[in-house]
Every structure is written in structure tokens, then in C-alpha cells.
């Protein structure tokens, strides 16, 4: 019994020492939405070791930066005289706004192809496409949400994807010009489409 009790005491002291010698830690700090529109709310969750303080402030970019309005949430955690911080940034857009979708390219045969996933973490599923247009000054074939459309290089817009979320998988392709076939340094390293999106929350 005495041995058990001593061992228990030692363990308790070890735990106490370990607990007091550790610094603060943020296991996670996240939001259920990272891009919202007016009137929307976000839910922040966290798991930490230490004493958390949540700071919230609205920030605006300098005029020359042309970034949207955003709100920063800083979770500051203190423990044993130390302090750490992690940030969540929530972007606040108008109900109707514009956004570019851009991916890096590869060459395949006589085409250049760009594909990837538009960030679902940042955008969620509440921002729906209204129109899309070529943002690369060239004709683009675009696939998204099970549909395909050809966008003319003159930036004329298409409503082919109306109602589909802007996030998710995109494939954009374009034929190479004769000059690009001869000189590969002229091949674009990225393809871009310009979108108009609307916030639609059920």
C-alpha cells in the first residue's frame, strides 16, 4: 500500500511539474466560415493549453491594396509567463461580388491546361456563380460542376454555371498559338477566369 501511495504521489508531482513547466499551446483555432456576406455570422472554436483571450477587430486594407473588408480574430493564449497567438481571418463580401479563379498550367499536346480545387475551406458552398468570363485574354474551355463552356477571349460573360458553387474542382484549357508552339517561353504559366458571385444561404 505504501509503495502504491508513494508511486501515486510521485506521479501526481510529475504531472503537476509537467503541467506547470509546459508553455501555452493552441491545438486548433478555426471558423466554420472564412468568407461571409453582410448579415452572416461565424462560429469560432478552439482547443488550447493555457488561458485563452479572443480579440476581434475589423481591419481594412490600404486603398492601394484593393483587398476586401475583413475581420481578424486573434486567439492569444497565456501560460507560465509565455504567450502565443493564432489568427482567423474572415472576409466580408457584398451579396454580389467579383472574384478571379486562377491556376498554374501544364502543357499537354497543343493545349495548355490549368486545373485545381478552388479553396473550399475559404469559400464554403454559399457563394454561387452568376457569370464567368475569360480573364486571360484568350479563348478558354472551362469545366466545373459537371458542366462545360467555351469562353471567348473578349471577356464576354457566360451564365453556364449559374447557381453552382464557385468552390470545388475546375479545369481550364486553351489551345496554343503557333508562336507558343515554336517558343515555349511564351506559353502562359497560369490561366484565369473572372467570375461574378452571389451569396445564397438556404
Amino acid at each position: 500500500m505504501k509503495n502504491k501511495s508513494t508511486r501515486g504521489t510521485i506521479l501526481a508531482i510529475c504531472f503537476a511539474l509537467a503541467a506547470t513547466s509546459c508553455g501555452p499551446k493552441i491545438f486548433y483555432f478555426r471558423s466554420n466560415q472564412y468568407t461571409i456576406a453582410g448579415g452572416d455570422s461565424v462560429q469560432l472554436t478552439w482547443s488550447v493549453r493555457g488561458t485563452p483571450t479572443l480579440l476581434a477587430y475589423t481591419d481594412t486594407a490600404a486603398p492601394e491594396e484593393k483587398r476586401p473588408e475583413y475581420r481578424n480574430y486573434h486567439l492569444v493564449v497565456h501560460k507560465n509567463g509565455k504567450e502565443i497567438m493564432k489568427q482567423v481571418q474572415v472576409i466580408i463580401l457584398p451579396i454580389v461580388s467579383e472574384d478571379d479563379i486562377v491556376f498554374s498550367t501544364i502543357r499537354k499536346g497543343d493545349s495548355v491546361i490549368a486545373s485545381g480545387i478552388k479553396d473550399t475551406t475559404r469559400w464554403g458552398t454559399f457563394f454561387k456563380l452568376q457569370t464567368v468570363a475569360s480573364g486571360s485574354g484568350r479563348t478558354l474551355t472551362v469545366m466545373h460542376g459537371g458542366k462545360m463552356v467555351v469562353l471567348e477571349k473578349d471577356r464576354s460573360s457566360s451564365a453556364a454555371f449559374v447557381g453552382i458553387a464557385n468552390s470545388g474542382f475546375w479545369v481550364i484549357s486553351s489551345p496554343l498559338s503557333d508562336a507558343e508552339k515554336k517558343d515555349t517561353t511564351l506559353v502562359p504559366a497560369r490561366l484565369k477566369i473572372h467570375t461574378v458571385i452571389v451569396h445564397q444561404k438556404p
Binding site: E64, E65, Q89, S104
Partner: protein, 455 residues
């Protein structure tokens, strides 16, 4: 220029910041309008970094605070950052956010740390010196990789390693042996533990009389006779990754450090170098950074390759990312911009021109010269302007959290290397180490107690 006019060359190398991050504002704010910095609009395709279908642009930092973590800058991440396009073979400089997001657990943000840059209000001394003297806007790290290989290139002209980790770093061709062989008077002034302890073959120098505490620099500049005063001075800040004890704080600008500590160190060093008018009249001070540290820069690195020496045999295709470089001397044109292509071996070219009558520092340095890398001497002028404008005297305030690294063993490769080298040096050369770095033994005692007996 006639290099006989330069009697003392002072080298001050900071850590881990890119040109645009520190000095991109020179162009934006019209301090040096012709420098190749950032230009409006910041939200332009040319600056856009792509991550998950979104564009990220440079943004002006609003305060000097510590970052939440270091930024990735090992060779594999640098390759991601400079992003050689598989479509056209050109460096896009658009993968800094991707590298950061892959290396960190951060939430998505339009103010992603690699894209932040400082204005003159937050880097007043760096900005002042770049604006007042000659800023070099085409100075690249020699290799597209991390600290240890780039510093080895800087001070040896070659490298037998391609990444940073706990390892033995050969110092073949190092400038200390080279200067001794060529009868050059030299000294290292270190504010904390010297970086050169990472090279065990240099410990006899590190623990010798040519390595002096930084606190002696001002007095030596003021009082030491010319015939013993060093011709080459290496000034070392206190490194973020090295062991610290008591009130000793790092000031090398290595993230996640706030920048203010390094600004204060730079101001103090500039004040020292200009404090003795006669000595200032023939001094050249070079302020540069070992590498970009993961911060965004918009200029692609030139395709000048290098293969590391010996068994390492690692082939790099290009120089590294641009770093901030400034030449401070009566022998530079005030408020000028040099767009000559420099890397750290440009300094070694200069030393060879001055001290060995043009005989190349080494075959590698000469080869790099033939590839288009210029000597620092080409940015100097014969017409001396002895005025030394006073640095801004404003208080530099930093809001920062600074952990100590005693209770837990460091996780980063550089910090592990510093700690491992320090412990080895204390074990193998205890008397010399005690004389040079007495505080290390108190630090070791604290480490042993905090970690239950094992460092």
C-alpha cells in the same frame, strides 16, 4: 575605383529577409524611385501568388510584431516558392503562399505572412541607410536554399552542403584562413554566440583573440591604433537560433522575431562605424542577408547554377531569391541604386581585388564572376563624400513574445545545430570556451537542470 582608399571593410550579415519584404517600399514610397522594388497597384497579376485557385498579393505590414512561426525556406520549399513553370520553364515567383500553407497549420488569410512587407516607419534604419547610401537591388542569395549553405558560400566561396541540419559543415576555403595566408588583419565582433562555432574546424579562430565581444567594437573604432586596427571586420548579431541566457536577446532578424531588435543593432553599428571621422573616411560597411527566409520577392533568380562540393554533389539551377544589400561608405554615391548582379561571393571578389592584387579568391568565385556576378568594387566611386548623415533617433518599439529555449530541446535544425556545436565545443575545448563564452556554462547548467540532466 582605387581600393587603396578603403582601409577597413565591415561585413554585417543579418538573417532571412527578402528585398521586397524589407526594401520594396523604397519604390512605392519614392525614397529610391528607381530601385526595383514594389510598385502600385499591388493587386496586379505580376505579384499574384496562387494558392487553391485564389490570388494573394503583397500587403503593407501595420505593426512590428513577432510572427506566429518561422517561414519555410529549405531548398525544397524555395523550389516551390520560385515555382519554375512546367509550361514555359520560367520562374514565376508565385509559390510563397503555397509553401507557407503546406509548412504551417495556418488558416487561409489575405494577409499571409510571406506576402507582408515593411514600410519605412517599421524599418527606419534599414530604410534610411538604403536611401542615404547605395542600395543594391539585384543582390541574390548565392543558392536557392537555407541558412547553412548560403552562409558557407558567403564566407568560404564554396559549399559542401545543400541544406540546413545538425551536421558537420566543412569550412574549406574560409575567409579567416585566406586572410591569414594573405596577411590581412581581421576580427569578428559577435553580439552572442558566433555562427562560426557551427564549423568545428574554425574553433581555433572562434576561441582565439580575433573573435571579440561586440561590446568592444565602439571602443576599438575610437581608440585602436591604425597599425593594429583590422582591415576586415565581421559583425555578428545575436542569433535567434543560438542559446540565450538571461537578458541576452536575439537581434539577427530571423523570423519569427520582430524586426525592431535588428534595427536597433543596425543603428548602433552604423553609429559606431561613423563615430570616428578619420576612420569613417576610409571605411566600407556592407549590410546584407544570408537568404530570403521564405518571404516574397518579385524578381526571378538568374539561372546561374552551382553543384555542391564533394560527396554532397547537389545541383542547383539558379541563384537564390533577392536579399536586401546596402553599401555604406564615403565611397558610394549618396542616394544611389546599384542594379549590378551581386551575390555573397561578390564580397569575396572585392577582398581578392583589394588584398591579393586581383588574384581570384578561388576558382569557384572566379567562375561565378565569369558567369556574370559582379564585384562589390564596381558599385564604389573614387569621389569621397565624407558626410555621414545621422540615423533616425526615434525609439524603435517592438511588441513581441520571446520564448527562451532552455526547458525544452530546440526542434528547428539551426537551433539544434547551434546547441549541439556549443555543447561539443565546451566538452572538447573547455578552457578556451570558458575564457571566450563564460555564459555558456551557466546556460548549460540551466539546461541540464531543466531537462533532468541531459542537454
Amino acid at each position: 575605383m582605387n581600393l587603396d582608399k578603403i582601409k577597413t571593410i565591415v561585413l554585417l550579415m543579418f538573417e532571412n529577409r527578402s528585398f521586397d519584404h524589407m526594401l520594396g517600399h523604397l519604390t512605392l514610397d519614392k525614397i529610391s524611385p528607381v530601385a526595383n522594388g514594389l510598385q502600385y497597384p499591388l493587386a496586379q497579376d505580376h505579384y499574384s501568388n496562387i494558392y487553391n485557385g485564389n490570388s494573394y498579393y503583397p500587403f503593407r505590414k501595420k505593426a512590428d510584431t513577432a510572427l506566429t512561426s518561422d517561414l519555410p525556406h529549405e531548398f525544397n520549399y524555395v523550389a516551390m516558392q520560385v515555382d519554375k513553370s512546367s509550361a514555359n520553364g520560367l520562374y514565376q515567383m508565385d509559390g510563397f503562399v503555397t509553401a507557407y500553407m503546406q509548412a504551417s497549420s495556418d488558416n487561409p488569410s489575405t494577409t499571409s505572412p510571406p506576402m507582408g512587407f515593411y514600410g519605412a516607419n517599421l524599418v527606419p534604419i534599414t530604410s534610411f541607410l538604403a536611401g542615404a547610401y547605395a542600395v543594391c537591388d539585384n543582390w541574390h542569395a548565392p543558392l536557392p536554399t537555407s541558412t547553412q549553405p548560403n552562409r558557407t558560400m558567403a564566407f568560404c566561396g564554396d559549399s559542401s552542403i545543400h541544406d540546413t541540419k545538425l551536421q558537420l559543415i566543412p569550412a574549406d576555403g574560409n575567409i579567416f584562413d585566406w586572410m591569414n595566408a594573405n596577411h590581412v588583419r581581421w576580427r569578428v565582433y559577435h553580439d552572442g554566440l558566433s555562427f562560426f562555432i557551427l564549423y568545428s574546424s574554425l574553433w581555433h579562430h572562434v576561441l582565439g583573440p580575433n573573435f571579440r565581444d561586440y561590446e568592444n567594437l565602439f571602443s576599438d573604432f575610437q581608440n585602436e591604433p591604425d597599425d593594429s586596427f583590422p582591415q576586415v571586420i565581421v559583425v555578428e548579431p545575436s542569433y535567434q537560433d543560438s542559446p540565450h541566457f538571461g537578458s541576452d536577446l536575439p537581434n539577427d532578424n530571423h523570423p519569427p522575431l520582430a524586426i525592431g531588435f535588428g534595427e536597433e543593432f543596425l543603428r548602433r553599428t552604423y553609429d559606431t562605424v561613423t563615430s570616428n571621422q578619420a576612420r569613417w573616411g576610409n571605411t566600407l560597411m556592407i549590410v546584407y542577408y544570408d537568404e530570403h527566409g521564405g518571404f516574397y520577392d518579385h524578381v526571378p533568380p538568374p539561372k546561374i547554377g552551382y553543384t555542391t562540393k564533394g560527396a554532397d554533389n547537389f545541383a542547383f539551377e539558379s541563384l537564390g531569391v533577392r536579399i536586401p544589400g546596402t553599401l555604406i561608405s564615403p565611397y558610394v554615391k549618396k542616394n544611389s541604386v546599384s542594379n549590378l548582379l551581386f551575390d555573397h561571393t561578390s564580397v569575396l571578389q572585392l577582398l581578392a581585388e583589394k588584398f591579393t592584387s586581383g588574384k581570384p579568391y578561388s576558382a569557384t568565385v572566379d567562375q561565378r564572376k565569369q558567369s556574370g556576378i559582379h564585384s562589390i568594387s564596381e558599385a564604389l566611386t573614387d569621389n569621397a563624400d565624407l558626410t555621414a548623415p545621422a540615423a533616425p533617433s526615434q525609439p524603435i518599439l517592438v511588441k513581441s513574445f520571446l520564448g527562451d529555449n532552455i526547458p525544452t530541446a530546440p526542434k528547428g535544425a539551426m537551433a539544434q545545430a547551434f546547441e549541439g556545436s556549443a555543447v561539443q565545443m565546451m566538452t572538447q575545448m573547455p578552457d578556451q570556451t570558458r575564457a571566450k563564452y563564460p555564459e555558456l556554462f551557466q546556460w548549460k547548467d540551466s539546461v541540464d537542470k531543466a531537462r533532468g540532466g541531459g542537454a
